[in-house]
């Protein structure tokens, strides 16, 4: 019998296992791997200009890179032949049925963090309102995670109080021409913006700008949309491979955990092989669920044979603001700009805090955008070419709380039914457009896009933690109410969802849960 069984290899699962090193740890994982395909070497635009045609690398022999035209993905990062594997098998093995919520479920090794934005922000006590945990309690776990993954950003700008202090912070990612202009304009108008509740600063990212623990620095290659596993962008699969190589855990890929049952001495974990043909039972003293907020909820409901309860579900709704700098129209595209977030924005509005990331326009194919312009398509090609150098995108995340309209429910056939309602605050968005114009950019409210619910891919809150939890809730140490040996180590435990990317906090909470358990498992 293992001391602990960790389910899933995303950020929560990996840091749960990391905290349990030295004990007999089994990780059960679907573990889908990237496809064997030709790797792009060099900068996307350099290769495309002078190198061979890239139809195999960007579209694929099986035309995978065209499927998004017919079935839009949750993110453009999930549509190329080198990244689409991140969602492989999920629709068949862990289906979510909904007319109002588009779930992106990953069975890949490393989970959805294979395509994450890499934003790492400590939750402050304000963010942790509703959590039975304080920022001070989490601080040592953030420190350990941050030191391990490597973080870049500015420690002394206007977002320091919002993001917290990192003991070791690498220099921030280089700003592109347009983003640097926005930053300079903000600096010149800081007081006015701050009076309006808006702060802006360098992005805080798990992206290396200097080598760290054998991983190379970010090379501005613009391949994020086409290849996973850039060594500069932290991926939980990196840590997992280190632990496997060091024989610190037993890794069993190829399994979907379907349910568990508690015994006197521990837990029996039922798993189904990815081919659906075999099943197996694994035994451990403790079970740590880290299959993601949605799949962990599925396992818990299936273990109770509960097809009636509706579990809460949260995701950060998004508004995408196109910001156009008229002075940059027709200028050469910055082909060596960063495709990751370059700046972060905090907006305090009516007692809530929104957070955004500002991106350049490199990386994604223009073909993915051209049909969105109100132009004939040939004109759209020319428009995209001359306007792309002038375009930056602000992706603004709304905070979310548990609401009765947003839930998951298990069906007898094993599928989860999801329902979600959300309405954007268009009045606030219009007001923000006015503020962004003071940064020297054109921002039209009519052009703001709102991806369908589920598009935030920050799923949380299905098994929320509380000081005095009820059924399908977790204690502050992560233990699931009504169980003795089952813990939740992913976004499921969030009782509220601030607008900040939740991944860093998932890692810190998982490490905290595992560290406490490690002592008990002697």
């Amino acid at each position: 019998m293992f001391d602990a069984c960790v389910v899933g290899s995303g950020p929560g699962g990996v840091f749960a296992a990391y905290g349990l090193r030295g004990r007999r740890v089994l990780m059960l994982d679907a573990g889908v791997q990237p496809p064997a395909q030709p790797a792009l070497d060099g900068n996307l635009y350099d290769v495309r200009r002078s190198g061979p045609d890239l139809d195999r690398e960007l579209i694929g022999d099986d035309l995978r890179g065209l499927e998004h035209i017919f079935t839009p993905p949750a993110s453009l990062k999930l549509k190329s032949p080198g990244t689409a594997y991140i969602l492989d098998g999920a629709e068949r093995l862990t289906p979510v049925v909904s007319e109002t919520f588009r779930a992106a479920i990953s069975l890949a090794q490393g989970g959805l963090a294979n395509a994450w934005g890499a934003g790492v922000y400590r939750f402050t006590d304000t963010d942790l309102r509703g959590f039975p945990v304080t920022a001070a309690e989490l601080a040592p776990f953030y420190d350990e995670v941050g030191q391990h993954i490597g973080i870049s950003g500015a420690g002394d700008d206007d977002l320091r109080a919002d993001f917290g202090d990192e003991p070791q912070l690498q220099a921030p990612v280089r700003l592109s021409r347009n983003v640097a202009r926005i930053h300079a304009k903000y600096q010149a108008r800081r007081a006015r913006f701050q009076a309006a509740g808006v702060r802006l600063g360098h992005a805080r990212l798990a992206v290396l700008t200097a080598p760290h623990k054998g991983r190379a620095a970010y090379a501005y290659r613009n391949l994020e949309f086409f290849q996973a596993h850039d060594p500069a962008i932290y991926n939980p699969a990196f840590t997992l491979r280190e632990m496997i190589a060091a024989h610190e855990i037993t890794y069993e890929p190829g399994w979907i955990v379907t349910r568990y049952e508690e015994t006197e001495s521990g837990v029996r974990v039922h798993a189904l092989a990815l081919d659906g043909q075999r099943s197996q039972v694994f035994e451990a003293r403790k079970l740590l669920l880290a299959a993601g907020a949605i799949n962990s909820a599925r396992i818990v409901l299936a273990s109770s044979h509960d097809f009636a309860t509706r579990l809460p579900l949260s995701d950060n709704p998004i508004a995408v603001f196109p910001l156009i700098d008229p002075r940059a129209i027709g200028l050469p595209l910055g082909t060596h700009d960063a495709a990751v977030a370059q700046l972060n924005v905090i907006v305090e509005e009516a007692g809530r805090t929104l957070q955004g990331s500002i991106y350049g326009s490199t990386g994604a194919l223009r073909s993915d955008l051209i049909a969105n312009f109100p132009l004939p398509l040939r004109s759209g090609v020319a428009f995209a070419r001359v306007c792309a150098p002038a375009l930056t995108l602000l992706m603004l995340f709304y905070p979310e709380t548990s609401r009765d309209t947003n839930y998951l429910q298990l069906r007898p056939d094993g599928a989860l039914r999801a329902a979600y309602q959300w309405t954007p605050d268009t009045a606030m968005e219009r007001r923000l457009c006015g503020l962004w114009r003071q940064l020297g950019v054109v921002c039209l409210p009519q052009l703001i896009q709102h991806p369908a619910p589920g598009g935030g891919i920050h799923y949380a809150g299905t098994l929320p933690m509380a000081a005095w939890p009820g059924r399908y809730m977790t204690y502050p140490d992560g233990r699931l109410h009504g169980t003795r040996h089952v813990y939740s180590c992913d976004g499921a435990v969030f009782p509220a969802l601030p607008a900040k990317n939740l991944t860093y906090t998932i890692m810190a909470l998982a490490l905290r849960t595992a560290t406490r358990l490690r002592g008990a498992l002697r």
Partner: protein
Amino acid sequence: MIHRALFPRRPMPHGVAAGYEAARAKFFFDDVHARLVAFLAEHGLDAEAVEYALRLRHGPNGLTRRFQVMLTLCEVRSAYDGAFVQRERAAGRAWAGAPWMALRAAWKLARGMYLMRTHRLDSILHV
């Protein structure tokens, strides 16, 4: 026809033609817009204008998706790099081209609506 509408002065490379055929077989060999495409090709009608009129009226459609497939197949090829990526400074030309772009959009919309009406293209689509 679709490649000619997007890049009228370029011959379609064999690889693009092969990719489009493969996509047609995989994704839209029998959808309702196949009849529309066949009709447009047979009568030599302006596919870009019809797509634009349809898209503005009903949103992206099967014809739009065919154009998107063609655009993607072209964009990944080095020969089309200049069509998609601004490499040189051309701000003056870009601004000077804006009124032309607006006029062209108005012309294509009018032409597309005219073609829709005179050839009863809605009836082909059962829109």
